[in-house]
Subunit: 193 residues, 2 copies
DNA sequence: ACATCGGCTTAACCCGGGTTAATGCGCTGC
DNA sequence: GCAGCGCATTAACCCGGGTTAAGCCGATGT
């Protein structure tokens, strides 16, 4: 079977990776229905997760009950909890399926064993972290320098296919506005056509 | 001489690092006066930079001339441009000294050579990226889930020594409000004592 | 001593998004 | 078919921060 994980790794790696086939045997495929919780804040994660199909959200739920979406992950994306890499680390956010999802789960342990023994694998882990850091950096930039309306415009431009896939309230939580606020923005922006 | 860079690496490394002394010989110390530009958006960076003393800001300057501060870096912090790690990458932000700074510059090339040859060094690079990603993640979270006033409160609580070190306009640019707006917030918050 | 300049303070007005609430619509389950 | 629920829509009102502008204060240079 052809794994999305393997495609991802091959695309990121700058050198051939020995032991790929053995590692791929450790991948477990899990399925979730739309709305299902994939993991919750406080959980210990022991694997890297790669989206084979579907769409999910990573979200912070505040004590007040408000939900803010950290990221939206679609086919080909990978996620986990950075904190969970630390020995005593727990996820600080929830992962919830928006559409039905198939997730490939690759345990950290054998990946880290390879990375500790083989510089090519260590390089791959590096690329994964680099890709992650780059994503966070772009998002930080948008949140810092753009107002809500500009954030919506950019999202609609750069990820048009996503606009139809996520509920408006989720998009609002992702952009950092309330659902009512986003609805107003959409009406205003789309009205100008 | 004792390098901040070496202390940082030893603190992050999980295994002994062979060749540390040789690498440290490649470190160049640079000094900047307050207000000096350390690098500008568009520059190619070829080194990792570690703050030995002083305080600086990394900032996006928009076409409109508005400046937003991505991060504040004080003694012991390290920075560079993630984009600059890519072959054709340029920094997307400016680095400007707030106080007079001494910066240790460590060229990427010998560090990457070590990382490609020695898994212990690859592990260190991993830790550096991990620390960076964690920082970005926390900031993203604050920007997404907190309103300006709450961001100021958190900053004043978690980094009280910084409040006196940075100009109010810089703190405003860091928190994502205008100087006038921040001044209002401070008056409001401090008034409640 | 004086002029200059940048940053802080304050005030007045504006506006975008928050809040609350009512309405309608489509989906699900019975 | 019908009840119920969650989400989108719309409206009214509120408020925090943006904008503009004026005055002030301290540091700097002459």
């Amino acid at each position: 079977m052809s794994l999305t994980t393997q495609k991802l790794f091959c695309a990121l790696a700058s050198e051939p990776l020995r032991g790929m086939d053995n590692l791929m045997k450790r991948v477990v495929l899990r399925s979730y229905r739309a709305g299902a919780t994939i993991f919750a804040a406080g959980d210990r994660l022991h694997d890297l997760r790669i989206v084979r199909s579907g769409l999910l959200k990573l979200c912070y739920v505040l004590p007040s009950g408000d939900e803010w979406i950290k990221s939206l992950m679609a086919e080909g994306a990978f996620f986990s909890s950075i904190a969970a890499l630390q020995p005593a680390g727990e996820a600080s956010f929830d992962a919830v399926a928006i559409e039905a999802c198939e997730i490939e789960c690759l345990p950290f342990a054998p990946l880290m064993d390879l990375a500790r023994a083989d510089v090519a694998w260590a390089g791959l882990v590096n690329e994964l972290l680099l890709a992650y850091a780059t994503r966070k950096e772009l998002r930080e930039r948008d949140l810092l320098t753009l107002k809500p309306e500009a954030r919506y415009r950019r999202f609609a431009e750069t990820e048009p296919q996503m606009v139809g896939r996520v509920a408006q309230k989720d998009l609002a939580a992702y952009l950092g506005v309330t659902p009512v606020g986003l609805n107003r923005i959409i009406r205003r922006v789309e009205g100008k056509r």
